[in-house]
Amino acid sequence: MNPATTPGIAVAGTFTLDAVTEPMAVVLAKEAPGRSVAAAPYGQVLEALHDPGSALMTNTGVNVLLLRLADFVRGGGLAELGERADAMVGELVTVLADIPNHSVATWFVAVLPSSPSVAADAALDRWVREAGERITAAVATTPGVHPVALDTLAELYDVGEVHDEYADRIGHLPYTDEYCAALATWLVRLAVSSWTKPKKVVVLDCDNTLWAGVCGEDGPTGIRVTDAHRRLQEFMLAQRAGGKLLCLCSRNNEADVEEVFAANTGMVLSWDDVTAHRIGWHPKAHSLRELADELDLALGSFIFVDDDAVECASVRAQLPEVATLELSRDGEQIRRQLDHAWAFDQLSTTDEDRLRADWYATRDERSALRDASADYQDFLDRCAIEIDFVDLGDDGLERAAQLTARTTQFNLAGAVHSVPQLRALLAGSGRGWLVRVRDRFGDYGVVGLVVAERHDDAVELPVFLLSCRVLNRRVEQEVLRFVASHAETIGASRILLPVRPTARNAPARLFVEQATGVALGADDAPTTVSIPVGDLAPQPADR
Protein backbone atom coordinates (compact mmCIF):
# COMPACT_ATOMS: atom_id res chain seq x y z
CA MET A 1 0.00 0.00 0.00
CA ASN A 2 1.27 3.41 -0.91
CA PRO A 3 1.78 5.32 2.36
CA ALA A 4 1.32 8.64 0.54
CA THR A 5 -2.36 7.96 -0.14
CA THR A 6 -5.01 8.70 2.45
CA PRO A 7 -5.96 5.49 4.24
CA GLY A 8 -9.23 4.01 3.08
CA ILE A 9 -11.46 1.03 3.88
CA ALA A 10 -10.43 -2.63 3.60
CA VAL A 11 -13.09 -5.35 3.70
CA ALA A 12 -12.95 -9.09 4.33
CA GLY A 13 -15.97 -11.39 4.45
CA THR A 14 -17.32 -14.89 4.23
CA PHE A 15 -19.16 -14.43 0.90
CA THR A 16 -18.73 -12.71 -2.49
CA LEU A 17 -18.07 -9.10 -1.54
CA ASP A 18 -18.26 -7.32 -4.90
CA ALA A 19 -21.94 -6.47 -4.44
CA VAL A 20 -20.98 -4.54 -1.28
CA THR A 21 -17.56 -3.10 -2.17
CA GLU A 22 -18.70 -1.67 -5.53
CA PRO A 23 -21.38 0.61 -4.04
CA MET A 24 -19.03 1.37 -1.12
CA ALA A 25 -16.49 2.76 -3.57
CA VAL A 26 -19.16 4.94 -5.16
CA VAL A 27 -20.40 6.34 -1.82
CA LEU A 28 -16.87 6.78 -0.46
CA ALA A 29 -15.72 8.71 -3.55
CA LYS A 30 -18.56 11.15 -2.93
CA GLU A 31 -18.27 11.44 0.87
CA ALA A 32 -14.50 11.18 1.36
CA PRO A 33 -12.73 11.82 -1.96
CA GLY A 34 -9.21 10.42 -2.16
CA ARG A 35 -9.93 7.35 -0.06
CA SER A 36 -10.48 3.96 -1.64
CA VAL A 37 -11.98 0.54 -0.91
CA ALA A 38 -9.91 -2.64 -0.97
CA ALA A 39 -11.15 -6.20 -0.49
CA ALA A 40 -9.48 -9.37 0.75
CA PRO A 41 -9.72 -12.35 -1.63
CA TYR A 42 -13.03 -14.23 -1.74
CA GLY A 43 -13.93 -16.01 1.47
CA GLN A 44 -10.68 -15.19 3.26
CA VAL A 45 -11.32 -13.87 6.76
CA LEU A 46 -8.85 -15.64 9.06
CA GLU A 47 -6.20 -15.41 6.32
CA ALA A 48 -6.74 -11.66 6.05
CA LEU A 49 -6.35 -11.33 9.83
CA HIS A 50 -3.20 -13.46 10.06
CA ASP A 51 -1.26 -12.35 6.99
CA PRO A 52 0.72 -9.19 7.87
CA GLY A 53 0.72 -8.29 4.17
CA SER A 54 -3.06 -8.53 3.68
CA ALA A 55 -5.22 -5.61 2.57
CA LEU A 56 -6.47 -5.33 6.16
CA MET A 57 -3.29 -5.71 8.16
CA THR A 58 -1.45 -3.15 6.01
CA ASN A 59 -4.33 -0.67 6.26
CA THR A 60 -4.21 2.23 8.71
CA GLY A 61 -7.73 3.45 7.95
CA VAL A 62 -10.90 1.44 8.55
CA ASN A 63 -11.18 -2.35 8.38
CA VAL A 64 -14.51 -4.12 8.01
CA LEU A 65 -15.34 -7.79 8.61
CA LEU A 66 -18.61 -9.05 7.11
CA LEU A 67 -19.49 -12.34 8.76
CA ARG A 68 -22.37 -14.49 7.60
CA LEU A 69 -21.86 -17.27 10.05
CA ALA A 70 -23.71 -20.02 8.17
CA ASP A 71 -20.97 -19.67 5.54
CA PHE A 72 -18.64 -21.49 7.93
CA VAL A 73 -20.62 -24.68 7.24
CA ARG A 74 -21.33 -23.94 3.57
CA GLY A 75 -21.08 -26.97 1.34
CA GLY A 76 -21.34 -29.56 4.08
CA GLY A 77 -23.81 -28.55 6.73
CA LEU A 78 -23.51 -28.50 10.48
CA ALA A 79 -23.29 -32.28 10.94
CA GLU A 80 -20.27 -32.59 8.67
CA LEU A 81 -18.49 -29.26 9.21
CA GLY A 82 -19.72 -28.23 12.69
CA GLU A 83 -16.48 -29.08 14.46
CA ARG A 84 -14.37 -27.19 11.95
CA ALA A 85 -16.76 -24.23 12.07
CA ASP A 86 -16.55 -24.12 15.88
CA ALA A 87 -12.77 -24.08 15.64
CA MET A 88 -12.90 -21.24 13.10
CA VAL A 89 -15.17 -19.14 15.29
CA GLY A 90 -12.90 -19.82 18.28
CA GLU A 91 -9.90 -18.75 16.24
CA LEU A 92 -11.72 -15.64 15.07
CA VAL A 93 -12.59 -14.67 18.65
CA THR A 94 -8.95 -15.10 19.73
CA VAL A 95 -7.55 -13.14 16.81
CA LEU A 96 -10.08 -10.31 17.21
CA ALA A 97 -9.22 -9.85 20.88
CA ASP A 98 -5.57 -9.49 19.92
CA ILE A 99 -6.16 -7.13 16.96
CA PRO A 100 -5.13 -3.90 18.79
CA ASN A 101 -1.63 -5.33 19.21
CA HIS A 102 -1.22 -5.80 15.48
CA SER A 103 -3.22 -3.12 13.72
CA VAL A 104 -3.58 0.66 14.02
CA ALA A 105 -6.76 0.66 11.94
CA THR A 106 -10.26 1.23 13.32
CA TRP A 107 -12.21 -2.03 13.00
CA PHE A 108 -15.89 -2.68 12.39
CA VAL A 109 -17.24 -6.20 12.74
CA ALA A 110 -20.69 -7.01 11.36
CA VAL A 111 -22.60 -10.25 11.83
CA LEU A 112 -24.96 -10.37 8.86
CA PRO A 113 -28.57 -11.58 8.86
CA SER A 114 -29.21 -15.29 8.42
CA SER A 115 -30.93 -16.53 5.29
CA PRO A 116 -34.49 -17.88 5.60
CA SER A 117 -33.15 -21.40 4.95
CA VAL A 118 -31.03 -21.13 8.12
CA ALA A 119 -34.00 -20.06 10.23
CA ALA A 120 -35.80 -23.19 9.01
CA ASP A 121 -33.02 -25.44 10.38
CA ALA A 122 -33.30 -25.30 14.17
CA ALA A 123 -29.86 -26.73 14.95
CA LEU A 124 -28.07 -24.50 12.45
CA ASP A 125 -30.08 -21.49 13.57
CA ARG A 126 -28.99 -22.06 17.16
CA TRP A 127 -25.36 -22.55 16.19
CA VAL A 128 -25.36 -19.33 14.14
CA ARG A 129 -26.92 -17.38 17.00
CA GLU A 130 -24.43 -18.66 19.56
CA ALA A 131 -21.45 -18.05 17.28
CA GLY A 132 -22.73 -14.51 16.67
CA GLU A 133 -22.97 -13.91 20.40
CA ARG A 134 -19.42 -15.16 20.99
CA ILE A 135 -18.04 -12.84 18.34
CA THR A 136 -20.05 -9.82 19.45
CA ALA A 137 -18.98 -10.35 23.07
CA ALA A 138 -15.31 -10.55 22.05
CA VAL A 139 -15.60 -7.39 19.97
CA ALA A 140 -17.43 -5.39 22.64
CA THR A 141 -14.47 -5.54 25.05
CA THR A 142 -11.69 -4.88 22.54
CA PRO A 143 -10.55 -1.26 22.20
CA GLY A 144 -10.62 0.08 18.65
CA VAL A 145 -12.94 -2.69 17.44
CA HIS A 146 -16.62 -1.83 17.07
CA PRO A 147 -19.59 -4.14 16.55
CA VAL A 148 -21.94 -3.08 13.75
CA ALA A 149 -25.64 -3.48 14.54
CA LEU A 150 -27.63 -4.24 11.41
CA ASP A 151 -31.08 -4.96 12.92
CA THR A 152 -32.66 -1.78 11.58
CA LEU A 153 -30.65 -1.42 8.37
CA ALA A 154 -33.33 -2.71 5.98
CA GLU A 155 -35.92 -0.45 7.54
CA LEU A 156 -33.61 2.57 7.59
CA TYR A 157 -33.02 2.37 3.84
CA ASP A 158 -36.47 1.00 2.85
CA VAL A 159 -34.99 -2.24 1.57
CA GLY A 160 -37.79 -4.47 0.22
CA GLU A 161 -36.01 -7.79 -0.29
CA VAL A 162 -32.93 -8.65 1.81
CA HIS A 163 -32.05 -12.15 0.63
CA ASP A 164 -31.28 -13.43 -2.86
CA GLU A 165 -31.55 -17.19 -2.45
CA TYR A 166 -30.69 -18.28 -5.98
CA ALA A 167 -27.75 -15.87 -6.32
CA ASP A 168 -26.48 -17.29 -3.03
CA ARG A 169 -26.71 -20.80 -4.44
CA ILE A 170 -24.98 -20.22 -7.76
CA GLY A 171 -22.72 -17.24 -6.96
CA HIS A 172 -22.48 -16.98 -3.16
CA LEU A 173 -24.18 -13.58 -3.35
CA PRO A 174 -26.64 -14.04 -0.46
CA TYR A 175 -28.05 -10.52 -0.35
CA THR A 176 -29.92 -8.43 -2.91
CA ASP A 177 -28.24 -5.47 -4.59
CA GLU A 178 -30.68 -3.27 -2.71
CA TYR A 179 -29.54 -4.61 0.67
CA CYS A 180 -25.87 -4.53 -0.32
CA ALA A 181 -26.20 -0.87 -1.32
CA ALA A 182 -27.76 -0.05 2.06
CA LEU A 183 -25.01 -1.97 3.86
CA ALA A 184 -22.36 -0.20 1.78
CA THR A 185 -23.76 3.23 2.63
CA TRP A 186 -23.96 2.38 6.33
CA LEU A 187 -20.37 1.09 6.42
CA VAL A 188 -19.05 4.20 4.70
CA ARG A 189 -21.05 6.31 7.13
CA LEU A 190 -19.38 4.52 10.07
CA ALA A 191 -15.95 4.91 8.47
CA VAL A 192 -16.52 8.62 7.90
CA SER A 193 -17.62 9.01 11.53
CA SER A 194 -14.28 7.52 12.60
CA TRP A 195 -12.40 10.06 10.48
CA THR A 196 -14.46 13.11 11.38
CA LYS A 197 -14.40 15.10 14.59
CA PRO A 198 -17.85 14.90 16.14
CA LYS A 199 -19.83 18.15 16.17
CA LYS A 200 -20.20 19.85 19.52
CA VAL A 201 -23.10 22.26 19.17
CA VAL A 202 -26.60 22.01 17.68
CA VAL A 203 -28.25 25.36 17.04
CA LEU A 204 -32.01 25.02 16.65
CA ASP A 205 -34.51 27.39 15.14
CA CYS A 206 -37.83 27.45 17.09
CA ASP A 207 -40.98 28.13 14.99
CA ASN A 208 -41.68 25.22 12.61
CA THR A 209 -38.51 23.50 13.78
CA LEU A 210 -39.13 22.63 17.43
CA TRP A 211 -42.88 22.94 16.93
CA ALA A 212 -45.46 23.62 14.23
CA GLY A 213 -46.67 27.19 14.21
CA VAL A 214 -45.40 30.63 15.15
CA CYS A 215 -45.24 31.31 18.87
CA GLY A 216 -45.49 35.12 18.48
CA GLU A 217 -48.81 34.70 16.65
CA ASP A 218 -50.28 31.40 17.84
CA GLY A 219 -49.26 31.80 21.49
CA PRO A 220 -47.46 29.33 23.77
CA THR A 221 -50.28 26.79 23.76
CA GLY A 222 -51.47 27.58 20.22
CA ILE A 223 -48.35 26.18 18.62
CA ARG A 224 -48.36 22.39 18.26
CA VAL A 225 -45.68 19.90 19.20
CA THR A 226 -46.66 17.29 16.61
CA ASP A 227 -45.44 13.68 16.71
CA ALA A 228 -42.65 14.58 14.31
CA HIS A 229 -41.57 17.58 16.41
CA ARG A 230 -41.71 15.52 19.58
CA ARG A 231 -39.43 12.95 17.94
CA LEU A 232 -37.10 15.73 16.86
CA GLN A 233 -36.94 17.09 20.42
CA GLU A 234 -36.28 13.59 21.78
CA PHE A 235 -33.53 13.19 19.20
CA MET A 236 -31.95 16.47 20.30
CA LEU A 237 -32.21 15.51 23.96
CA ALA A 238 -30.34 12.30 23.13
CA GLN A 239 -27.73 14.39 21.30
CA ARG A 240 -27.35 16.48 24.45
CA ALA A 241 -26.91 13.33 26.53
CA GLY A 242 -24.23 12.30 24.03
CA GLY A 243 -22.30 15.48 24.73
CA LYS A 244 -23.55 18.06 22.25
CA LEU A 245 -24.67 21.48 23.47
CA LEU A 246 -28.13 22.61 22.41
CA CYS A 247 -28.63 26.27 21.51
CA LEU A 248 -31.56 28.25 20.17
CA CYS A 249 -31.44 30.80 17.39
CA SER A 250 -34.82 32.28 16.58
CA ARG A 251 -36.38 35.40 15.12
CA ASN A 252 -38.78 36.08 17.94
CA ASN A 253 -39.27 37.94 21.17
CA GLU A 254 -37.36 36.05 23.80
CA ALA A 255 -40.31 36.10 26.21
CA ASP A 256 -42.59 34.42 23.63
CA VAL A 257 -40.15 31.54 23.18
CA GLU A 258 -39.56 31.11 26.91
CA GLU A 259 -43.29 31.06 27.43
CA VAL A 260 -43.63 28.04 25.10
CA PHE A 261 -41.04 26.14 27.13
CA ALA A 262 -42.85 27.08 30.34
CA ALA A 263 -46.47 26.60 29.30
CA ASN A 264 -46.73 24.06 26.49
CA THR A 265 -47.07 20.58 28.00
CA GLY A 266 -46.12 18.93 24.70
CA MET A 267 -42.53 20.18 24.97
CA VAL A 268 -39.88 17.51 25.52
CA LEU A 269 -36.97 19.96 25.79
CA SER A 270 -36.85 22.15 28.85
CA TRP A 271 -35.35 25.61 29.08
CA ASP A 272 -32.54 24.16 31.23
CA ASP A 273 -31.47 21.90 28.37
CA VAL A 274 -30.57 25.00 26.35
CA THR A 275 -26.95 26.01 26.89
CA ALA A 276 -27.09 29.37 25.10
CA HIS A 277 -29.47 31.24 22.83
CA ARG A 278 -29.80 34.17 20.46
CA ILE A 279 -33.44 35.12 20.19
CA GLY A 280 -34.00 38.41 18.41
CA TRP A 281 -33.80 39.97 14.99
CA HIS A 282 -30.17 39.71 13.97
CA PRO A 283 -29.22 37.75 10.87
CA LYS A 284 -28.65 34.14 11.90
CA ALA A 285 -25.07 34.01 10.62
CA HIS A 286 -24.32 36.88 12.99
CA SER A 287 -25.99 35.06 15.89
CA LEU A 288 -24.08 31.87 15.15
CA ARG A 289 -20.78 33.78 15.26
CA GLU A 290 -21.80 35.26 18.62
CA LEU A 291 -22.68 31.81 19.98
CA ALA A 292 -19.31 30.47 18.83
CA ASP A 293 -17.59 33.32 20.71
CA GLU A 294 -19.69 32.84 23.81
CA LEU A 295 -19.03 29.08 23.98
CA ASP A 296 -15.47 29.49 22.72
CA LEU A 297 -16.02 26.72 20.17
CA ALA A 298 -15.22 26.74 16.46
CA LEU A 299 -18.08 27.21 13.97
CA GLY A 300 -16.84 24.06 12.24
CA SER A 301 -18.20 22.13 15.23
CA PHE A 302 -21.71 23.60 14.79
CA ILE A 303 -24.85 22.07 13.27
CA PHE A 304 -27.61 24.54 12.34
CA VAL A 305 -31.18 23.27 12.00
CA ASP A 306 -33.84 25.53 10.48
CA ASP A 307 -36.93 25.04 8.33
CA ASP A 308 -36.50 28.33 6.48
CA ALA A 309 -34.83 27.88 3.09
CA VAL A 310 -33.60 31.48 2.97
CA GLU A 311 -32.04 31.36 6.45
CA CYS A 312 -30.34 28.10 5.58
CA ALA A 313 -29.04 29.40 2.25
CA SER A 314 -27.72 32.52 3.94
CA VAL A 315 -25.90 30.56 6.66
CA ARG A 316 -24.50 28.15 4.05
CA ALA A 317 -23.18 31.08 2.01
CA GLN A 318 -21.69 33.04 4.92
CA LEU A 319 -20.58 30.20 7.19
CA PRO A 320 -19.81 27.24 4.95
CA GLU A 321 -18.02 25.50 7.86
CA VAL A 322 -21.36 25.11 9.69
CA ALA A 323 -23.28 21.91 8.87
CA THR A 324 -26.71 23.21 7.88
CA LEU A 325 -29.81 21.00 7.95
CA GLU A 326 -32.83 22.49 6.18
CA LEU A 327 -35.71 20.86 7.97
CA SER A 328 -38.75 19.69 6.04
CA ARG A 329 -42.26 20.79 6.98
CA ASP A 330 -43.43 17.22 6.44
CA GLY A 331 -43.40 15.05 9.55
CA GLU A 332 -42.41 11.77 7.91
CA GLN A 333 -39.70 13.59 5.99
CA ILE A 334 -38.28 15.06 9.24
CA ARG A 335 -37.79 11.57 10.64
CA ARG A 336 -35.92 10.54 7.50
CA GLN A 337 -33.78 13.67 7.56
CA LEU A 338 -32.64 12.99 11.13
CA ASP A 339 -32.03 9.28 10.35
CA HIS A 340 -29.81 10.20 7.42
CA ALA A 341 -28.02 13.31 8.72
CA TRP A 342 -24.42 12.17 9.10
CA ALA A 343 -23.46 15.41 10.87
CA PHE A 344 -24.95 14.11 14.14
CA ASP A 345 -22.84 10.93 14.10
CA GLN A 346 -20.41 10.17 16.85
CA LEU A 347 -18.56 6.87 16.88
CA SER A 348 -18.41 6.47 20.65
CA THR A 349 -19.70 8.34 23.66
CA THR A 350 -17.59 8.64 26.80
CA ASP A 351 -18.47 9.70 30.32
CA GLU A 352 -17.02 13.13 29.63
CA ASP A 353 -19.39 13.60 26.70
CA ARG A 354 -22.28 12.95 29.04
CA LEU A 355 -20.96 15.52 31.53
CA ARG A 356 -20.19 18.27 29.04
CA ALA A 357 -23.57 19.94 28.66
CA ASP A 358 -24.02 20.04 32.43
CA TRP A 359 -20.57 21.55 32.84
CA TYR A 360 -21.50 24.43 30.55
CA ALA A 361 -24.59 24.99 32.65
CA THR A 362 -22.43 25.93 35.70
CA ARG A 363 -20.13 28.15 33.63
CA ASP A 364 -21.92 31.35 34.65
CA GLU A 365 -21.37 30.69 38.34
CA ARG A 366 -17.70 30.25 37.61
CA SER A 367 -17.29 33.52 35.74
CA ALA A 368 -19.30 35.33 38.43
CA LEU A 369 -16.83 34.13 41.02
CA ARG A 370 -13.94 35.20 38.82
CA ASP A 371 -15.34 38.71 38.59
CA ALA A 372 -15.80 38.87 42.35
CA SER A 373 -12.33 37.57 43.11
CA ALA A 374 -9.92 40.26 44.20
CA ASP A 375 -7.06 38.67 42.45
CA TYR A 376 -6.58 35.74 40.21
CA GLN A 377 -4.65 33.56 42.62
CA ASP A 378 -7.42 34.08 45.13
CA PHE A 379 -9.91 32.94 42.51
CA LEU A 380 -7.90 29.82 41.82
CA ASP A 381 -7.60 29.08 45.54
CA ARG A 382 -11.33 29.48 45.99
CA CYS A 383 -12.02 27.18 43.05
CA ALA A 384 -10.15 24.46 44.98
CA ILE A 385 -8.87 22.79 41.83
CA GLU A 386 -7.80 19.18 42.18
CA ILE A 387 -5.80 17.46 39.48
CA ASP A 388 -5.39 13.70 39.21
CA PHE A 389 -3.02 11.95 36.85
CA VAL A 390 -4.48 8.58 35.88
CA ASP A 391 -2.17 6.04 34.28
CA LEU A 392 -3.33 5.50 30.71
CA GLY A 393 -4.37 1.87 30.27
CA ASP A 394 -6.68 0.02 27.91
CA ASP A 395 -9.86 1.29 29.51
CA GLY A 396 -8.87 4.93 28.98
CA LEU A 397 -7.79 4.63 25.35
CA GLU A 398 -11.18 5.42 23.85
CA ARG A 399 -11.38 8.73 25.73
CA ALA A 400 -7.70 9.47 25.03
CA ALA A 401 -8.15 8.97 21.27
CA GLN A 402 -11.24 11.13 21.33
CA LEU A 403 -9.32 13.91 23.10
CA THR A 404 -6.64 13.90 20.39
CA ALA A 405 -9.34 14.23 17.74
CA ARG A 406 -11.30 16.95 19.44
CA THR A 407 -8.85 19.20 21.21
CA THR A 408 -7.79 21.98 18.88
CA GLN A 409 -6.79 24.94 21.07
CA PHE A 410 -4.44 23.59 23.70
CA ASN A 411 -2.84 20.81 21.69
CA LEU A 412 0.89 21.18 21.18
CA ALA A 413 1.69 18.66 18.46
CA GLY A 414 -1.90 18.57 17.20
CA ALA A 415 -1.78 15.04 15.78
CA VAL A 416 -4.90 12.85 15.91
CA HIS A 417 -4.21 9.40 17.35
CA SER A 418 -6.44 6.33 17.03
CA VAL A 419 -6.85 3.85 19.88
CA PRO A 420 -4.41 1.38 18.32
CA GLN A 421 -1.87 4.15 17.62
CA LEU A 422 -1.97 5.20 21.27
CA ARG A 423 -1.59 1.60 22.28
CA ALA A 424 1.48 1.33 20.07
CA LEU A 425 2.98 4.45 21.73
CA LEU A 426 2.49 2.89 25.16
CA ALA A 427 3.81 -0.48 24.06
CA GLY A 428 7.22 1.10 23.36
CA SER A 429 9.04 3.32 25.82
CA GLY A 430 5.97 5.53 26.23
CA ARG A 431 3.84 6.25 29.27
CA GLY A 432 0.62 8.17 29.29
CA TRP A 433 -1.62 9.89 31.81
CA LEU A 434 -5.15 11.11 31.57
CA VAL A 435 -5.60 14.40 33.38
CA ARG A 436 -8.68 14.53 35.52
CA VAL A 437 -9.77 17.85 37.02
CA ARG A 438 -12.43 18.83 39.53
CA ASP A 439 -13.18 22.02 41.38
CA ARG A 440 -15.77 23.21 43.86
CA PHE A 441 -18.35 23.54 41.08
CA GLY A 442 -18.10 19.99 39.96
CA ASP A 443 -16.22 17.33 38.07
CA TYR A 444 -14.81 18.21 34.67
CA GLY A 445 -13.94 14.54 34.13
CA VAL A 446 -10.95 13.61 32.01
CA VAL A 447 -9.96 16.81 30.23
CA GLY A 448 -6.36 16.25 29.27
CA LEU A 449 -3.82 13.78 28.04
CA VAL A 450 -0.06 13.67 28.13
CA VAL A 451 2.11 10.95 26.64
CA ALA A 452 5.82 10.80 27.44
CA GLU A 453 8.42 8.84 25.47
CA ARG A 454 11.99 8.28 26.60
CA HIS A 455 14.68 9.34 24.12
CA ASP A 456 18.18 8.98 25.62
CA ASP A 457 18.50 11.70 28.26
CA ALA A 458 15.27 13.40 27.24
CA VAL A 459 11.56 12.84 27.69
CA GLU A 460 9.55 13.81 24.62
CA LEU A 461 5.83 14.58 24.77
CA PRO A 462 4.24 13.48 21.47
CA VAL A 463 0.85 14.26 23.02
CA PHE A 464 0.21 17.17 25.39
CA LEU A 465 -3.30 18.50 25.30
CA LEU A 466 -5.93 20.01 27.57
CA SER A 467 -9.54 20.93 27.03
CA CYS A 468 -10.02 24.67 26.78
CA ARG A 469 -12.45 24.35 29.69
CA VAL A 470 -9.57 24.05 32.19
CA LEU A 471 -7.14 26.51 30.64
CA ASN A 472 -5.88 29.48 32.62
CA ARG A 473 -6.27 27.66 35.89
CA ARG A 474 -2.60 26.68 36.08
CA VAL A 475 -3.51 23.10 35.18
CA GLU A 476 -1.16 23.30 32.19
CA GLN A 477 1.77 24.28 34.45
CA GLU A 478 0.92 21.45 36.84
CA VAL A 479 0.97 18.92 34.01
CA LEU A 480 4.41 20.09 32.93
CA ARG A 481 5.69 19.87 36.52
CA PHE A 482 4.25 16.38 36.81
CA VAL A 483 6.09 15.31 33.66
CA ALA A 484 9.26 16.95 35.00
CA SER A 485 9.13 14.87 38.17
CA HIS A 486 8.53 11.75 36.05
CA ALA A 487 11.61 12.72 33.98
CA GLU A 488 13.63 13.25 37.12
CA THR A 489 12.59 9.83 38.44
CA ILE A 490 13.78 8.04 35.33
CA GLY A 491 16.96 10.11 35.14
CA ALA A 492 16.19 12.29 32.14
CA SER A 493 17.53 15.84 32.06
CA ARG A 494 15.42 17.52 29.37
CA ILE A 495 11.80 17.65 28.26
CA LEU A 496 11.12 17.96 24.55
CA LEU A 497 7.87 19.61 23.45
CA PRO A 498 7.02 19.11 19.76
CA VAL A 499 4.80 22.01 18.66
CA ARG A 500 2.94 22.27 15.39
CA PRO A 501 1.40 25.73 14.98
CA THR A 502 -2.12 25.59 13.55
CA ALA A 503 -4.82 28.17 12.92
CA ARG A 504 -6.44 27.37 16.25
CA ASN A 505 -3.81 26.31 18.76
CA ALA A 506 -2.66 29.78 19.80
CA PRO A 507 -3.27 29.00 23.53
CA ALA A 508 -0.81 26.09 23.30
CA ARG A 509 1.81 28.20 21.53
CA LEU A 510 1.43 30.98 24.07
CA PHE A 511 1.90 28.54 26.90
CA VAL A 512 5.10 27.13 25.37
CA GLU A 513 6.40 30.67 24.84
CA GLN A 514 5.71 31.59 28.46
CA ALA A 515 7.15 28.36 29.83
CA THR A 516 10.35 28.51 27.79
CA GLY A 517 10.86 32.11 26.75
CA VAL A 518 11.24 30.88 23.15
CA ALA A 519 9.19 32.92 20.67
CA LEU A 520 7.12 30.84 18.24
CA GLY A 521 5.62 32.64 15.25
CA ALA A 522 2.06 31.83 14.21
CA ASP A 523 3.20 30.63 10.79
CA ASP A 524 6.18 28.66 11.99
CA ALA A 525 6.80 25.16 10.76
CA PRO A 526 6.58 22.31 13.29
CA THR A 527 9.36 22.62 15.83
CA THR A 528 10.56 20.97 19.02
CA VAL A 529 11.28 23.04 22.10
CA SER A 530 13.63 21.73 24.78
CA ILE A 531 13.26 22.55 28.49
CA PRO A 532 15.81 21.54 31.11
CA VAL A 533 14.11 19.49 33.82
CA GLY A 534 15.80 21.63 36.48
CA ASP A 535 13.79 24.66 35.32
CA LEU A 536 10.58 22.86 36.12
CA ALA A 537 11.33 21.56 39.59
CA PRO A 538 8.52 22.37 42.05
CA GLN A 539 8.33 26.14 42.46
CA PRO A 540 6.46 28.48 44.76
CA ALA A 541 2.86 28.93 43.67
CA ASP A 542 3.42 32.52 42.50
CA ARG A 543 5.66 31.43 39.65
Binding site: T16, D18, Y166, I170, L173, D177
Partner: protein, 89 residues
Protein backbone atom coordinates in the same frame (compact mmCIF):
# COMPACT_ATOMS: atom_id res chain seq x y z
CA UNK B 1 -53.53 -22.82 -34.66
CA UNK B 2 -54.34 -22.19 -31.07
CA UNK B 3 -51.28 -24.18 -29.90
CA UNK B 4 -48.83 -22.20 -32.00
CA UNK B 5 -50.31 -18.84 -30.93
CA UNK B 6 -49.98 -19.98 -27.36
CA UNK B 7 -46.30 -20.91 -27.75
CA UNK B 8 -45.73 -17.60 -29.55
CA UNK B 9 -47.18 -15.78 -26.56
CA UNK B 10 -44.94 -17.76 -24.22
CA UNK B 11 -41.90 -16.90 -26.33
CA UNK B 12 -42.72 -13.20 -26.23
CA UNK B 13 -43.24 -13.29 -22.49
CA UNK B 14 -39.83 -14.93 -22.07
CA UNK B 15 -38.16 -12.31 -24.24
CA UNK B 16 -39.89 -9.52 -22.35
CA UNK B 17 -38.85 -10.94 -19.01
CA UNK B 18 -35.23 -11.43 -20.08
CA UNK B 19 -34.94 -7.96 -21.56
CA UNK B 20 -36.56 -6.39 -18.48
CA UNK B 21 -34.17 -8.33 -16.20
CA UNK B 22 -31.13 -7.24 -18.20
CA UNK B 23 -32.26 -3.62 -18.17
CA UNK B 24 -32.92 -3.64 -14.43
CA UNK B 25 -29.73 -5.42 -13.38
CA UNK B 26 -27.45 -3.53 -15.77
CA UNK B 27 -29.20 -0.19 -15.39
CA UNK B 28 -29.42 0.40 -19.14
CA UNK B 29 -32.40 1.71 -21.12
CA UNK B 30 -31.74 -0.06 -24.43
CA UNK B 31 -30.92 -3.73 -24.91
CA UNK B 32 -30.35 -4.57 -28.59
CA UNK B 33 -30.63 -8.26 -29.64
CA UNK B 34 -27.05 -8.34 -30.97
CA UNK B 35 -25.48 -6.55 -27.96
CA UNK B 36 -23.00 -8.65 -26.00
CA UNK B 37 -23.38 -8.96 -22.23
CA UNK B 38 -20.01 -7.38 -21.38
CA UNK B 39 -20.66 -4.45 -23.73
CA UNK B 40 -23.83 -3.70 -21.75
CA UNK B 41 -21.77 -3.54 -18.53
CA UNK B 42 -22.29 -7.16 -17.53
CA UNK B 43 -19.86 -9.16 -15.41
CA UNK B 44 -20.04 -12.42 -13.48
CA UNK B 45 -21.75 -10.83 -10.47
CA UNK B 46 -24.42 -9.22 -12.64
CA UNK B 47 -24.86 -12.47 -14.55
CA UNK B 48 -25.73 -14.15 -11.23
CA UNK B 49 -28.28 -11.39 -10.51
CA UNK B 50 -29.90 -11.85 -13.94
CA UNK B 51 -30.08 -15.64 -13.52
CA UNK B 52 -31.51 -15.26 -10.02
CA UNK B 53 -34.20 -12.93 -11.28
CA UNK B 54 -35.16 -15.31 -14.06
CA UNK B 55 -35.30 -18.18 -11.56
CA UNK B 56 -37.76 -16.18 -9.47
CA UNK B 57 -39.85 -14.96 -12.37
CA UNK B 58 -39.81 -17.91 -14.76
CA UNK B 59 -38.80 -20.77 -12.48
CA UNK B 60 -35.86 -21.66 -14.76
CA UNK B 61 -32.62 -22.96 -13.27
CA UNK B 62 -29.97 -21.81 -15.70
CA UNK B 63 -26.33 -22.85 -15.42
CA UNK B 64 -23.95 -20.06 -14.41
CA UNK B 65 -22.13 -20.25 -17.73
CA UNK B 66 -25.27 -19.60 -19.76
CA UNK B 67 -24.58 -15.87 -19.57
CA UNK B 68 -20.98 -15.10 -20.49
CA UNK B 69 -19.23 -11.88 -21.40
CA UNK B 70 -19.63 -12.45 -25.16
CA UNK B 71 -23.15 -13.90 -25.04
CA UNK B 72 -25.50 -11.76 -27.11
CA UNK B 73 -28.97 -10.85 -25.89
CA UNK B 74 -30.57 -12.90 -28.68
CA UNK B 75 -28.48 -15.97 -27.82
CA UNK B 76 -29.36 -15.67 -24.15
CA UNK B 77 -33.08 -15.28 -24.90
CA UNK B 78 -32.89 -18.48 -26.93
CA UNK B 79 -31.27 -20.39 -24.05
CA UNK B 80 -33.84 -19.14 -21.56
CA UNK B 81 -36.68 -19.99 -23.96
CA UNK B 82 -35.35 -23.53 -24.30
CA UNK B 83 -35.26 -24.01 -20.52
CA UNK B 84 -38.65 -22.35 -20.05
CA UNK B 85 -40.38 -24.57 -22.61
CA UNK B 86 -38.64 -27.67 -21.24
CA UNK B 87 -40.28 -27.04 -17.87
CA UNK B 88 -43.30 -29.19 -17.18
CA UNK B 89 -46.40 -27.01 -17.37
Amino acid sequence: METSRKSGAVADAVEDTVVTALRAVLGVAEVAPDARFAALGGDSMRAVRVLSRLWRELGVELPVDSLQKDTTVAEFVAVVREHASARPA
